[in-house]
Symmetry: C2
Subunit: 124 residues, 2 copies
């Protein structure tokens, strides 16, 4: 447990968003200017493998890191790119039944236009 890792964890904890490695790097630099990108990735990858955080692969967007590891789904606004967490009833049983095999996990990303963008359809 190094200072760098503590810092990265605190950044993730304090954020209410899904941060990219780059955003975490930027925020970390503010408090520890000497920190390196490699350190960010080292730690994020280690924590991801340890199941402490979850790496998200979404669309053309850079990978994001989610502090919530419990199974949940994501809502992606196609206009502004905002990602929200949603808790939908688990599909595991339904999926296993349909597929006829045991599943490990699943990722469900729902595309929509968020209320803000729907009201004021700017950008893109």
């Amino acid at each position: 447990m190094t200072k760098q890792r503590e810092l990265i964890i605190s950044i993730l904890k304090q954020s209410d968003r899904h941060l990219t490695a780059d955003e975490i790097f930027f925020l970390a630099k503010l408090k520890m200017p000497s920190i390196a990108m490699a350190t960010i990735y080292n730690n994020l990858n280690a924590m991801n493998e340890a199941g402490l955080i979850k790496r998200l692969h979404i669309d053309g967007v850079a990978d994001c890191f989610d502090k919530i590891v419990e199974p949940h789904d994501h809502l992606l606004c196609d206009k502004c790119g905002k990602i929200s967490d949603i808790q939908l009833p688990s599909l595991s049983d339904t999926l296993e039944e349909h597929i006829g095999a045991e599943i490990e996990d699943y990722e469900l990303t729902v595309h929509y236009v968020c209320p803000e963008c729907r009201r004021a359809p700017r950008r893109r």
Copy 2:
């Protein structure tokens, strides 16, 4: 409609797999050695935007291009990386009900271990 585009389309049509840009490039080179990677991407991107094919972003894997544009889901083997198409009952209505907003689309990727890998758990 150029020869290059025709070639790329025929490669996609003939394949029963989900090809990466690189695989398409390799196959295209066999028939047209002068073809450039940029041309592959130009065409794939154009067709993707036109809705003729679908670009898939899955895990650490390079993007794949799917000739099936109808809504369907994907089954990913965590051992060998094979991607299969699956047709599950549409979740659109259920999702809209839960989210309370109109959805554009959704992506569902199910992780499992395919029958082959389950039988002979080699690799990785």
